[in-house]
């Protein structure tokens, strides 16, 4: 295994963590079955790529301004994706369960087809930053540092939210929407909020992915079928647990990358997903974490208590 291979796996795992953690907020915590997460991922990717080309054409990028401009692009791409999140949260107020899943799936595919038909975004061939810039690479790129900066931000934001009234409101919607509403919780507001935060984070993952080393946004990377592994990750980890989402993302990424080394299986990932799901359903139907977080585990509680004991002494 070469160093580049390791670096690539680490990068992909990071992007998958952001996607899984943000999808978990919508699916696992708020309980809305969304299959359109890759729409947000794609919008973030395309928007970021397009913006990158534009700022290079404007000629405002140099060694100094590169970093802040890239940060701006990441945030703007997140916002662009959350605009799409706002759109899809509309139907989420009226649709539940399977019906919402179908609506979000359709949304994802529609978006993919629209992008495939937009000539200024390269159509079905995809949008290559290289060729747009005359076969030159952009002056900034994402990498392990950028990706893991946003991994930390995603996990931090979501864990903090879950320790607040807002986080508990999300949970109440998953548990019983009718009761939540009868108890004074503005269900509509929090459903929209879940989509806004989730799609923002997925959008940032999109830019980080496109700007990693390919500098190329391909519509085929952002279809709903491509997004299924992320759903599998949060199911593996245990729907509703952020810790589980991280674990699921890392495990599945590693597994899929290692399988690529085995000839014959590498082009049959769907077979692997199905087998994995079946094994999981038999051995541990509630996922690795069973809705618990790292801080809920007995061993972590003990370690914490010991540390605080040492500090007091």
């Amino acid at each position: 295994m070469s160093l580049v291979f390791l670096e690539n796996i680490t990068a992909i795992a990071g992007i998958m963590i952001i996607l899984a953690v943000s999808l978990n907020l919508i699916n696992g915590i708020t309980g809305m079955l969304s299959l359109g997460h890759y729409a947000f991922f794609g919008i973030g990717g395309y928007f970021g790529a397009f913006m990158t080309v534009q700022v290079h054409k404007l000629g405002i990028v140099n060694g100094v301004t590169g970093l802040p401009i890239f940060l701006m692009i990441i945030i703007l791409s997140g916002l662009a994706a959350s605009l799409a999140g706002l759109v899809i949260s509309g139907p989420s107020l009226r649709l539940k369960g399977d019906y919402l899943a179908i609506a979000t799936l359709g949304f994802n595919e529609i978006l993919k087809i629209i992008i495939e038909n937009l000539d200024f975004l390269g159509g079905p061939k995809g949008y290559s930053i290289y060729s747009e810039l005359g076969n030159r690479p952009p002056l900034f790129r994402s990498g392990i540092t950028w990706i893991y900066l946003f991994v930390v931000i995603s996990i931090f934001v979501i864990t903090r939210i879950m320790k607040s009234v807002h986080g508990r409101n999300f949970l109440s919607i998953r548990e019983d929407e009718i009761a939540a509403e009868a108890m004074g919780i503005n269900v509509a507001k929090f459903k929209i909020l879940a989509f806004l935060v989730g799609s923002f984070l997925a959008g940032t993952a999109g830019v980080l992915f496109v700007m990693y080393d390919k500098f190329y946004a391909n519509p085929r990377d952002f279809g709903f079928i491509e997004g299924i592994p992320v759903l599998l990750m949060i199911v593996l980890g245990g729907l509703g647990s952020t810790t589980g989402a991280v674990l699921g993302a890392v495990t599945l990424t590693l597994l899929l990358q290692l399988l690529k080394l085995i000839p014959g299986i590498s082009n049959q990932p769907v077979l692997v997903y199905a087998m994995l799901l079946v094994i999981m359903m038999i051995l541990r139907p509630a996922g690795f974490m069973n809705r618990k977080e790292l801080s809920d585990l007995e061993i972590v509680k003990k370690i914490r208590a010991r540390i605080s004991g040492i500090i007091k002494k």
């Binding site: 939210i161 607040s164 109440s172 548990e175 009718i178 009761a179 509403e181 009868a182 108890m183």
Partner: protein, 273 residues
Amino acid sequence: MYQANITLNELQDLKSDFELLKTEELSIHFGGLKAVDGVSFDLIHREILGIIGPNGAGKTTLFNLFSGVYAPLSGRIFFEGKAIHGLKPNLINERGIARTFQNIRLFSDLSVLDNIRIVMQHRADYGLRHLLFNTEKYRMQEDEILRKSREFLKIFGLEIKHDITAKNLSYGEQKRLEIARALATEPKLLLLDEPAAGMNTAEKEGQIELIKWIMLNFDISIILIDHDMPFVMNLCPRIIVLDYGKIISMGPPGKIKKDPEVIKAYLGEESHA
């Protein structure tokens, strides 16, 4: 556990003359079915009002109208003098009406404590900045919510079970938790949908005392639905009888018991008997 030690007559005298809830010609139809048909009555502050009626008489639909699950087809509902018909359930709850459900609807996969904590959300007003950076304001409000929630659990004898997942409570405890949860939203009117369903006679006695005790201690009005005649008659100084969506009788238990319309609705007409 909860002894109100108060008779029906004393309850009757407790009522103030402040009109809390008023409905005017309330109607809702589902297809051709008139589920609630021209219902008008009013409710005084600190009153326990019972609604009874045969299956399908429209009792729960009436609750759904009060709590905003349905908007009435015609007619109006006033709460504290303000119109509330057609408002969203969460806004109605903010105005001061809380309810329980016929088939218990707890946040069943969450802990007992979280069930109460969730509905205390109206006590917090910190924004994203405060929760992200763990500010003083965030900590104070969260601590206050936690303290208040524990207080509620203590009142309802669920404090030692605060860590247990709500679905693992016994049936009676679940019913109690649901009432506690409704009260934690600080309502002025509590709607109880079949609070004694599935209970034996002794438990029903306890439930009667609990409901009286809640009324006195929280200083609120209560409307309750039940099938069980003796339960309602021992608890409510005033009773409304619904049949086919219409009020067929209203008054104190003594009057209801003798009303031929009520007997007809429950037992059928003499020729069929």
